[in-house]
């Protein structure tokens, strides 16, 4: 069996996934290598050694002008053929996911995207991902010789000792992209780590206007928590940065306490608070699905609950 090739569009994403790729390589008893593309590829390649990846292929093809998943996937396909890898492990960021699919189609490989975890069972990689919009967990096994596994961005703990490795220049031919960049605007970002927050105060479309976020922020500050939100609030309305998005398309969190305020409880969101210790929900609809995954529920208008909650939390602290 050929080896595992690790790739991500950004080195940090690859470093986060490297421990898992190393575990897979050991479990399957195959070689792990990585592919680094773009500017300063040779110099960047040496940084992979610290994660136990000791064979790193590099090519400085220019990927900076425009993101075109065809160019990245084509480069990966050439690398896979050249070094005879059987498994590509990559990161299911938005860019990574479409590169993975494009690559799999080109290689005739099965492809698993948005993978939460991958383990070896009976000598084969078994991937786990969300099913039914986040309600279930699906375990699958790819039956093709070549496999592409795109793992959701997450940090696996690095236990590898730094080792000496080799950087190998790889010949790759890149076509010209059919896309032209017109404009590039940085997204509003917030330096917030809701994945590791102890308390989360999350808000959904029950919130009527952006200014009312002050209620949520005040509650969060009183319980020493961070503000999180659903997709409507971040992606559709843009009231909060996507760094605060909880759920299947956002962050998977593990707080000891989570408040879900004005959130109906679609699986898309609840998938992100599965590992909360205690879950509290406030929603004016007593039949909202959020109450099924809550420890404590108040079926009332959040606008009646929030001022009272703020008042009582202040009293508690006094």
């Amino acid at each position: 069996m050929g080896g595992i090739l690790l790739y991500a569009e950004k080195d940090n994403l690859a470093f986060d996934l490297a421990p898992k790729a190393l575990e897979m390589a050991k479990g399957l008893n195959v070689e792990l290598s990585a592919l680094v593309l773009g500017q300063d590829a040779q110099a960047r390649a040496a940084k992979y050694f610290a994660y136990g990846v000791t064979k790193v292929y590099a090519n400085n093809i220019d990927l900076s002008a425009v993101f075109d998943c065809k160019i990245s996937a084509d480069a990966l396909a050439q690398a896979v053929k050249n070094i005879q890898a059987d498994v590509v492990m990559c990161v299911a960021s938005k860019r990574g996911r479409v590169v993975a699919a494009q690559l799999a189609q080109a290689l005739g490989a099965a492809c698993a995207t948005n993978v939460l975890d991958v383990k070896i069972e009976n000598g084969h990689p078994v991937t786990v991902r969300y099913g039914l919009g986040g309600a279930t967990m699906i375990a699958e096994q790819m039956e093709s010789a070549k496999k592409v596994i795109a793992v959701l961005p997450q940090r696996f703990e690095n236990t590898a000792a730094a080792a000496a490795g080799q950087v190998i220049a790889l010949d790759i031919k890149a076509d010209k992209s059919a896309l032209t960049m017109v404009e590039k605007a940085e997204r509003k970002r917030e330096a917030v780590d809701i994945e590791n927050a102890k308390v989360l105060v999350c808000v959904g479309k029950g919130l009527k206007k952006k200014e009312d976020l002050t209620y949520i922020q005040e509650i969060a500050s009183l319980v020493k928590g961070e503000v999180g939100c659903t997709r409507e609030i971040s992606s559709t309305l843009g009231w909060l940065a996507e760094d605060r998005l909880v759920g299947m398309s956002g962050k998977r969190c593990k707080p000891t306490l989570v408040f879900s305020l004005g959130i109906s409880g679609q699986n898309q969101y609840t998938a992100g608070i599965l590992n909360a210790k205690v879950s509290v929900a406030v929603n004016n609809d007593p039949n909202a699905p959020i109450f099924k995954v809550s420890d404590y529920g108040i079926a009332e208008d959040m606008y009646k609950v929030m001022p009272k909650l703020i008042e009582k939390l202040k009293q508690m602290k006094a």
């Binding site: 967990m137 017109v182 099924k292």
Partner: protein
């Protein structure tokens, strides 16, 4: 110009229940609905039509069986006609196999200037189909559209990535995937629903689009090992005292007793 919107029929997730013994979802017999992101795609194409562009909007779907209501809804949402690949052989097809079927159907329709696909499906959300189709057809691929504009034989799309909004231009034909950020799909009017039944509908088997069950089997397969609800034990206690004052006090008491609320 012709726009093809690929639509996945999905089970109504709100109605899926858990089998308490096996922890598996019960989906059999549940109504099928139009995927959420596909509604955004249909809305975007329909808006373009309404802006005065000459557009033929074709909706394309594939499955082992397709609900009439799903096809009719896509027509009510603005499609001029529908094409559906209905074949038992699709039951075991992986994303790559489905992409090949859709690509073959697009050719049979006569190609398109723009092919729209949801960025991911409502149920599986693997987000592979659009990229895979573009690989097969060798067309430019622009994922995660939050804006979409046509200018002559070019399209301009703003893509929504985690770090940047990137606006790119491409010549047509091209494949675009649609995010929920792009618009707010409207609910079809009664007249649109009634008109839908009059619109042309094509139904094909895989042999009609030049494929066979044996060819489909050559695409890489993925074996399902398990599909279960995660273990989750929640208390499910609803709090309701005489007044909001007391209800919130009760909540704080409970959370303190749980040891999760610091003073």
């Amino acid at each position: 110009m012709r726009i093809i919107v690929c639509v996945k029929q999905v089970v109504d997730l709100d109605q899926v229940r858990m089998n308490r013994e096996t922890k598996e979802p019960v989906v059999k017999g549940l109504p099928m609905i139009v995927g959420q992101l596909e509604k955004h795609a249909l809305e975007e194409a329909t808006k373009l039509k309404e802006s005065g562009q000459q557009i033929e909007l074709v909706v394309l779907s594939a499955g082992t069986e397709l609900a009439d209501d799903v096809i009719l809804e896509t027509l009510a949402r603005g499609a001029d006609k529908s094409a559906a690949i209905v074949d038992k052989a699709l039951g075991s097809a992986s994303a790559q196999g489905i992409a090949a079927v859709l690509a073959a159907a697009i050719k049979k329709i006569g190609g398109a200037d723009v092919i729209m696909v949801g960025e991911g499906s409502t149920d599986d959300n693997s987000g592979q189909i659009g990229s895979s189709i573009s690989q097969i057809l060798g067309l430019p691929f622009i994922p995660y559209a939050r804006t979409f504009a046509v200018n002559g034989n070019k399209i301009k799309v703003t893509q929504s990535f985690e770090d940047y909004f990137e606006t790119v231009e491409s010549a047509t034909p091209a494949i675009v995937t649609i995010t929920s950020e792009i618009n707010e799909p409207r609910i079809p009017a009664i007249t649109e629903v009634m008109d839908a039944a009059m619109k042309p509908q094509d139904t094909w088997t895989i042999s009609d689009i030049g494929l066979s069950a044996d060819e489909l089997k050559k695409f890489p397969a993925v074996k399902l090992i398990s599909n279960k609800y995660p273990e989750q034990s929640r208390k499910g206690i609803m709090l309701k005292e005489d007044s909001m004052d007391k209800t919130v006090e009760e909540l704080i008491k409970k959370l303190q007793a749980e040891g999760v609320l610091e003073k």
